[in-house]
Symmetry: C2
Subunit: 315 residues, 2 copies
């Protein structure tokens, strides 16, 4: 297959899109875009490396899908709306089947959330995908990590633990004989094709005082909120909304790849929160409370758990 | 050295910057930026991989500097102004010395062009740097590859061949005994710390009909202009402004890593061009002419050269 980089881009990465805010997409030195007037611009970059974030056995479709989905989750955590993506793809050698399947996964996620692919680049090297996602948010109402105040309640969307359980299952399927084929499929879909909480984040941007997406694990990510907000907090393991497949609830504390939102909210806004939960059909569960101080306490059956491993660390 | 990703970012990649259009920089799920009202947004992504774009012997400072400079060159080729950068850095293992030197190079280039580092991410894997650069341009006056018309003249900025010669020298220093130490230093500086033609691109955006930056080699990059503009062209090797160190002028045709601009301009605008050349103290050399048809002809001493290798290809 005598594919060169320009043929590859023309064959697999040029598709029409529906956005009219793209003056020039891929094919020039830069993309030329029309930012929505009066909004702030959101920018996030994520990299997936083979052997670290996915495996030689991971389907190219899933690698493509997830590379967009994880960045969308960052946009969701700011309460923003995604607009455009650019993808830097590094591959050892071009294979038509691989590229076809990868681009299908990429576009499946892009199209689902009406994001236009506006550029990127293709280089030779060990397999890696670096995605930049651009979005917009209201200049006043967006979510950050630094607004949590003592007395606020700590919430999470959806259920926790699926991402970490899926990874554990892939590493050692023999340990999970209790998980049937349908459940396996659901877990792996959660791992490779996570659902960014975009609608939820956008609605929460009016009321949440702080937010983050759970990618490294609940404790690690909640710690970022506490540090940025200069507060402490307490969470109750018994309250965690955890997938029934997980043998122990506490393991959801450090389970990565959930891509749910963890956010804080003042008591006075609980009615609005209930309304958002209803509108989005998304479970929103109170798991704890923001406190004075700088410490994170984790309770299980009324006892403090010692905090050791706190989540995924790259090094 | 027990550095984790958060320590690394805090230690090496958080510095104050002078831009007041950054509402939130690194440290949240996304950067929050204020795009300049009434402008278009420019986006470009470039990746440098060890073993392909740089070598185990390349200094971390140079890797950092070049990772920003090549993307700035894309902004220059659109006639834009650079604003913000995000860097996805993949490293095998964190070493304090390496990170220190890399971040110095990165900031040396960022600071020189008043670009704010607003985010990025750090992952473990084979050494690679993927940079996204965001800039702005006038909504009407920006440079593209598709505006060249028959009769336009083809120009390049500066001199060609230094980048390719520096690479050839690194691969086989014995072959270049005629190049003295001072010249070596100058060549390597050109290769690793290229000067993006930002001021030139911005002024040219009023008059050039098409433009591209020369990263893959003059012929390969000029071909992009011809293809996008649906025209042909003729260039004269004898007219090429080539470094005196290059043994044969024609080798500048396929020499990559020059980061000069190749652009086209109508005859009527030659006076304005002379003024821009004077203002920027940048050599601007006519090397050919746009023609009807779709072919690129290359003349040397009045004879047509056969076109074989046309520049750097990643695969």
């Amino acid at each position: 297959m005598p594919l060169n980089e320009f043929d590859i881009i023309a064959t697999y990465f040029k598709r029409p899109h529906l956005r009219d805010d793209v003056a020039i997409g891929s094919g020039d030195d830069c993309a030329v875009l029309c930012p929505p007037p009066g909004k702030r611009l959101l920018v996030t970059v994520d990299t997936l490396n083979e052997g670290v974030h996915f495996f030689p056995t991971t389907s190219p479709f899933d690698i493509g899908y997830k590379s967009i989905a994880v960045s969308l989750s960052d946009i969701a955590a700011m309460g923003g709306e995604p607009l455009w993506a650019a993808v830097a793809l590094t591959i050892p050698l071009p294979h038509a089947d691989w590229l076809e399947d990868f681009s299908k996964g990429l576009y499946a996620c892009l199209d689902r959330y009406q994001v236009a692919l506006v550029g990127g680049n293709l280089t030779r090297g060990p397999l890696a995908v670096s995605t930049q996602l651009l979005g917009a948010c209201d200049p006043k109402h967006y979510l950050t990590r630094h607004g949590a105040r003592p007395g606020d309640l700590i919430y999470v969307t959806g259920t926790l633990g699926e991402g970490g359980l899926a990874l554990a299952f892939l590493q050692n399927p023999e340990r999970f004989k209790n998980i049937n084929a349908g459940q396996q499929e659901q877990l792996l879909k959660h791992l490779w094709q996570p659902t960014p909480r975009l609608a939820e984040g956008k609605l929460l941007s009016d009321i949440a005082t702080a937010a983050i997406d759970i990618s490294d694990g609940l404790i690690a990510d909640l710690q970022h909120i506490l540090e940025a907000s200069e507060v402490g907090g307490v969470i109750d393991v018994n309250a965690l909304p955890v997938t029934k497949l997980l043998p122990e609830k506490a393991s959801a504390l450090t389970s990565g790849d959930d891509y749910e939102l963890c956010f804080t909210i003042a008591q006075k806004d609980l009615d609005s929160l209930a309304e958002i939960s209803r509108k989005t059909a998304c479970l929103m569960t109170c798991i704890g409370r923001i406190e004075e101080g700088r410490e994170l306490r984790v309770l299980e059956n009324g006892e403090s758990l010692p905090l050791t491993g706190t989540g995924y660390r790259h090094f």
